[in-house]
Symmetry: C2
Subunit: 346 residues, 2 copies
């Protein structure tokens, strides 16, 4: 099926070149995709001229959201920015999803303002898939909500479970709360309250309890729920630790003639590991809980990473994650109004 993806062509460290190159790479895998490119025509046209361009439509705007802009300011002043227009295209139905590598805070603020949250959801969250021992797992929130109460964590559980069903293709994803001790006696009060709420009010979810940081990648859990501060730190620490390991390894392979030779012999196997753990492959965090699909790519990504973000957006549209979240939240309390009342109650 043909999908239209709205691209914020001016967001990210190497925009717009990486955006156009990334879209072309995504097209190789999914030739049915079509792109609305929001950005500066004078910069985009030379890039499009250098290769196939039938899948692209340029929507000119000279405005864009700077990387260091305050979200509130971007929301007020960025009405004609490439980011805002890409989100508006989702709202109007012109595009099925929007992808941006720009300022996360501004993207979240605009997406929330333009698309609104799904019925029963107070706050959208940022979710992504990450590499684990037995395949990928899902973690949220990754930074949209710094201060969370138990009710927010419960909503993240609903959203994370629906996302995992769609993206991991699991029938009954196992869900856990990130804590600093697997015994119920340890950890934060809010996390303990959320555990009780999930157990009592979401019996249909396969809630397996608390997990600690080192359990997360062990492959026993499919969805890890935490607040946005902890989730963002966890995500970036995991990236940093993987990078430390791979750079130390690269150094080791250069350290002697026999190590160099060893590398050449083991190269194919090593590249498979690197490929499986490559953070770029997991590029593309979705904003869940919104009336529409918005995917945030890493600001510093390359064309391969940006292509992964586009592919993630297409997959999310196809898997109808939002429809499932709406149904789950309805199941929690009946009508949309009842759901809304319930989830915001203390």
């Amino acid at each position: 099926m043909s999908r239209v993806i709205a691209l914020d062509a001016m967001g990210g460290d190497d925009a717009p070149a990486v955006v156009v190159q990334g879209a072309r790479r995504a097209l190789e895998e999914r030739p049915g995709l079509r792109f609305l490119l929001f950005g500066d025509r004078r910069k985009l046209e030379p890039l499009l001229a250098s290769g196939p361009s039938e899948a692209f439509t340029v929507r000119h705007t000279e405005e864009f959201v700077p990387n260091d802009a305050r979200p509130s300011l971007a929301l007020r002043q960025g009405r004609n920015s490439s980011m805002r227009l890409a989100i508006e295209a989702v709202k109007s139905g012109e595009a099925d999803a929007a992808v941006s590598a720009g300022n996360t805070g501004a993207l979240m603020a605009m997406a929330k303002f333009v698309l609104r949250t799904l019925p029963g959801i107070d706050r959208p969250a940022i979710v992504t898939t990450l590499p684990g021992r037995n395949g990928p797992y899902v973690m949220l929130d990754l930074g949209a909500n710094v201060d969370c109460d138990a009710e927010h964590l419960l909503q993240f559980a609903v959203m994370g479970e629906a996302y995992a069903r769609a993206v991991l293709g699991k029938d009954r994803p196992r869900l856990a709360l990130l804590n600093i001790g697997t015994e119920e006696i340890k950890g934060e009060g809010i996390v303990r309250k959320a555990a009780t709420a999930i157990r009592e009010r979401l019996p249909q979810i396969a809630y397996v309890g608390f997990v600690e940081g080192d359990d997360v990648m062990r492959g026993e859990v499919d969805v890890v729920v935490t607040d946005g501060f902890t989730g963002n730190v966890a995500l970036k620490i995991a990236e940093g630790a993987s990078r430390l390991y791979s750079s130390s390894l690269a150094e080791a392979f250069r350290s002697s003639v026999s190590a160099r030779l060893g590398y050449l012999l083991a190269r194919r196997a090593l590249e498979r590991v690197r490929g499986r753990l490559d953070p770029r492959r997991y590029n593309g965090a979705m904003f869940v809980g919104l009336n529409g699909v918005v995917v945030k790519s890493h600001g510093g990504t390359d064309a391969f990473g940006f292509a992964c973000a586009i592919t993630a957006a297409a997959r999310l549209v196809e898997s109808r994650t939002n429809e499932r979240i709406i149904a789950e939240m309805r199941g929690l309390g009946g009508s949309d109004e009842a759901v809304a009342a319930r989830v915001t109650a203390p």
Copy 2:
């Protein structure tokens, strides 16, 4: 110089065997060490009989703190436990430091109760060194304090800096606060407040600003300050990510004949990397802020890991970290009383 280390012989998953084996390994490196072994004589004597035992003195007790005990209960009921008696030996001056692989919460509660905090310090913290790109860095708090305010983070900064001077041997360790954005506009209110407090009240500290999770290992920072919940998650996520990488690598090297051969050729270089990043090498988290040196070993460690914890304890005694913290806290406000008043002020 001869140092006496009090060992909780009954703490940890494989106690007391790992404790005795670990102490023997530590002796190989530091033959001057002497050990007070607190635990069950009937279990300890056969272990001591199987090798050299001149460095050991057994202090018999049948009581110990179970791994899943509530800290408050352990504090009330564990007065004759091996853990408590090891800490009491530090208090009485019989031992220079105590090491335990037992229940962290109970160890912290007992150490705080028996040894008390240093003048000006409200709450002790757990600190350790971790592997980074250009050598180890220091992180705290790793789980002693789940809820922290800006004032606690300021005290952690003082303690972490003193610890880094001693353990990393750096003259002016660069200190940063863990946050979810390096720009001052992002992140948690408490972290922002702590940044202001550190900048204004600790001008002698080389405070470099906020770091994100992936900056932590890049080698640009020597001390990373955060609350105990985030720190514990970060520590364990980093361990999990390293383990995921190394197990994927081991699999890759077994996946083909040429990969196996490659491994053999690169083995020496690879073992250096593994050694440098080995979490066991970084075993031994110190409780800073107490009137005495107490080191917590990982509960599931082996003899090598336990030996590293003992060595860390000996090094901390020699480097006089506590004396430096007292001096710094005095410098913050004059007399001990003024310091105490100042650091608890809003």
